[in-house]
């Protein structure tokens, strides 16, 4: 089922959570709503679910206006950040709840419900927890139960609000892959909210970057990462070095009004000056950042620069703190100064 969001506006008092926002989500798509806290992404998700109503604008499911259709009749599955499992019901009762509250005419008999519940629990690899209470499960297990519960009613749309936000890093990574797989199996139109750019880029077919109630950019993970439409997107999707000035021939020449963003892995380091490495800097520190090495540099002209190198390259260079090196940028992007939101961008280098 496709979702159309048409000029939706939502205010809480004087705070504008969503500002005339429009978005089309194709049937079967897996979309991430990515943004900082307070950007309006959760509000948008709750409006799609019918848990909040828009002050203005419409939400359509396959072209049908959902205004006036309550959350219970929209046929969506919703997964909450803190699971929201029914604490006094067993895992099986939780998963079967959506089927057991149906009106008599459409309610399956208990045996059929039980069958379906066990099928879903096997799918999330938790069939052995059927008769336990939620508080006896770990966070990751609870969230899988919550997903099974949402899927039990065969929703046409699956909505997830920061589904992995309360879990630790390892479980989170596991569940991300699992969500991706699940989506491939079921093909249900899925929208999930996250503030974690890595999660959005890794899981989604399409990333919608939201800031202050409007869409900054929507596109494939490659597109938004490689071609950020705005300084906000560039900065929000990963670390950047910020230079106040315009880069000419890989030289940071000062032109006060403009701002240049360089990602740390686009910073190159050489021991000898050459055509593309012409900024003098001192090594301040070298450390491991997972699969890469992080190098902290200080330009001789002043200001810090962060670089990410492969371990192999770092060994080749044999960098030592205090050493003098030459720095160049393989990729960078310059924005007119007035398009850069103040405050949102910390200055690595001036």
């Amino acid at each position: 089922m496709s979702i159309t969001i048409n000029g939706v506006t939502k205010r809480f008092g004087s705070f504008v959570a969503l500002d005339n926002l429009s978005l089309d989500i194709a049937s079967g798509e897996l979309v991430a709503l990515l943004g900082p806290s307070g950007s309006g992404k959760t509000t948008l998700l709750r409006i799609i679910a019918g848990l909040e109503s828009a002050d203005d604008g419409k939400v359509l499911f396959t072209g049908r206006d959902q205004t006036g259709v309550g959350a219970k009749d929209r046929g969506v599955g919703f997964v909450f950040q803190h699971y929201a499992l029914f604490r006094h019901m067993t895992v099986a009762e939780n998963v079967g709840f959506g089927l057991s509250v149906r009106p008599k005419a459409t309610r399956p008999p208990p045996a059929v419900i039980r069958e379906k519940v066990m099928h879903l629990l096997r799918m999330v690899q938790l069939d052995w927890t059927a008769d336990r209470l939620p508080h006896q499960l770990s966070g990751g297990q609870r969230q899988r139960v919550a997903l099974a519960r949402a899927l039990a009613v065969e929703p046409k749309v699956l909505l997830l609000d920061e589904p992995f936000g309360a879990l630790d890093a390892k479980v989170r990574a596991e569940l991300r892959r699992w969500l991706r797989q699940l989506h491939e199996q079921t093909g249900v139109t899925t929208v999930f909210v996250t503030h974690d750019q890595e999660e959005a880029l890794e899981v989604a077919d399409r990333v919608v970057v939201i800031n202050k109630g409007h869409i900054e950019q929507a596109g494939s993970p490659d597109e938004v990462y490689a071609n950020p439409a705005t300084p906000f997107v560039h900065h929000f999707l990963g670390t950047v070095n910020v230079f106040h000035g315009r880069v000419h021939d890989s030289l940071a020449a000062v032109s006060e009004s403009d701002v240049t963003f360089v990602r740390p892995h686009d910073v190159g380091i050489e021991r000898e000056r050459d055509e593309t490495h012409s900024i003098a800097a001192l090594v301040r520190g070298v450390g491991i950042a997972g699969a890469l090495m992080r190098v902290e540099l200080e330009r001789e002209a002043g200001g810090r620069v962060e670089a990410l190198l492969t371990h192999q390259r770092a060994r080749q260079l044999a960098l030592e703190p205090g050493q003098r090196v030459w720095v160049g940028f393989s990729e960078f992007r310059t924005y007119a100064g007035d398009s850069v939101p103040g405050g949102a961008v910390p200055d690595y280098a001036i």
Partner: protein, 284 residues
């Protein structure tokens, strides 16, 4: 005993000892005395006093008023606590204060208030009389006064529990297709059942024991509008001490029963809370 307490042992012993002594004088001795005096003239007198028709009627009326209060205040308390806990609306804090009003007004004033409203010279007195409805010096007045006095208990116990539980489970149920009544019976009430039980127990204890407000509106008609506490007072004023204490001991028994129930509910509620805490804890 927490080892961080640095007071010397004799200070602790003195404090605990004097607290226990005070409790014995104020609580235990009178309680024992009630039973002692009630049984002083023998079991037969005791039994006769308790099974006297006036006494039986008083017991019945007391339990009836308590039962009506339980039902009405239970339903109204759930509704009020739910509205206050889940919604933000203008006048919300005023409503919370207003709900506590019966606690801060003297029961006698509450009784007079109902006489002023429904008595024969009261605001609605003439209208009620013309329709042949008796409120004051009759059962409805007693029920009204009891209702008013016991209204805050359920709300006060439910409100913090409902606020702690939050709305997410109800939202989850709604998205899964549950209707309003299904959410109430299957999600909201099971989540607050221990708080509700506790509130109802306090409500019934107070309803059974209420004297001041009921005394003003009842008119003390023996075998008609006397509740247990009023019956005890009348017997006492008639110098029938043994009978008075016998009936008083029945009241004490109901109090002891509610005390035990209260302890059980508290214990269960605490266990439920601990489980909820484990549930809320961050683990993976």
């Amino acid at each position: 005993m927490n080892s961080s307490h640095s007071e010397p042992a004799w200070v602790r012993r003195t404090l605990i000892g004097s607290a226990l002594a005070a409790m014995a004088v104020v609580l235990v001795v009178p309680l024992v005395a009630v039973f002692w005096e009630g049984l002083a003239a023998g079991w037969q007198v005791y039994w006769a006093a308790v099974t006297d028709p006036d006494a039986r009627h008083a017991i019945w009326l007391t339990l009836l008023a308590a039962a009506i209060s339980l039902v009405i205040n239970g339903v109204a308390g759930i509704a009020a606590a739910w509205a206050i806990a889940k919604f933000r609306f203008p006048g919300r804090s005023l409503l919370i204060t207003a709900i506590e009003l019966p606690f801060s007004v003297s029961p006698v004033v509450v009784g007079l208030l109902f006489v002023l409203l429904f008595g024969s010279h009261g605001w609605f007195g003439a209208w009620l009389q013309s329709h042949d409805v008796r409120v004051i010096f009759a059962m409805p007045g007693i029920v009204l006064a009891t209702l008013f006095i016991t209204f805050p208990f359920v709300v006060r116990e439910l409100l913090p529990v409902m606020e702690a539980v939050g709305s997410e489970e109800e939202e989850a149920a709604r998205v899964l297709g549950a209707r309003g009544w299904q959410i109430l019976w299957r999600i909201t009430l099971p989540n607050v059942k221990w708080g509700l039980m506790y509130g109802l127990i306090l409500c019934s204890a107070r309803a059974i024991g209420e004297f001041g407000a009921v005394s003003v509106v009842s008119g003390h008609i023996r075998g008609e509008t006397n509740t247990m506490p009023l019956h005890v007072e009348i017997l006492y004023n008639d110098y029938q001490y043994n009978a008075a204490f016998a009936c008083a001991s029945v009241l004490c028994l109901t109090a002891l029963v509610t005390l035990v129930l209260k302890a059980v509910v508290e214990w269960r509620a605490e266990r439920a809370l601990n489980q909820a805490k484990v549930k809320g804890g961050v683990e993976a």
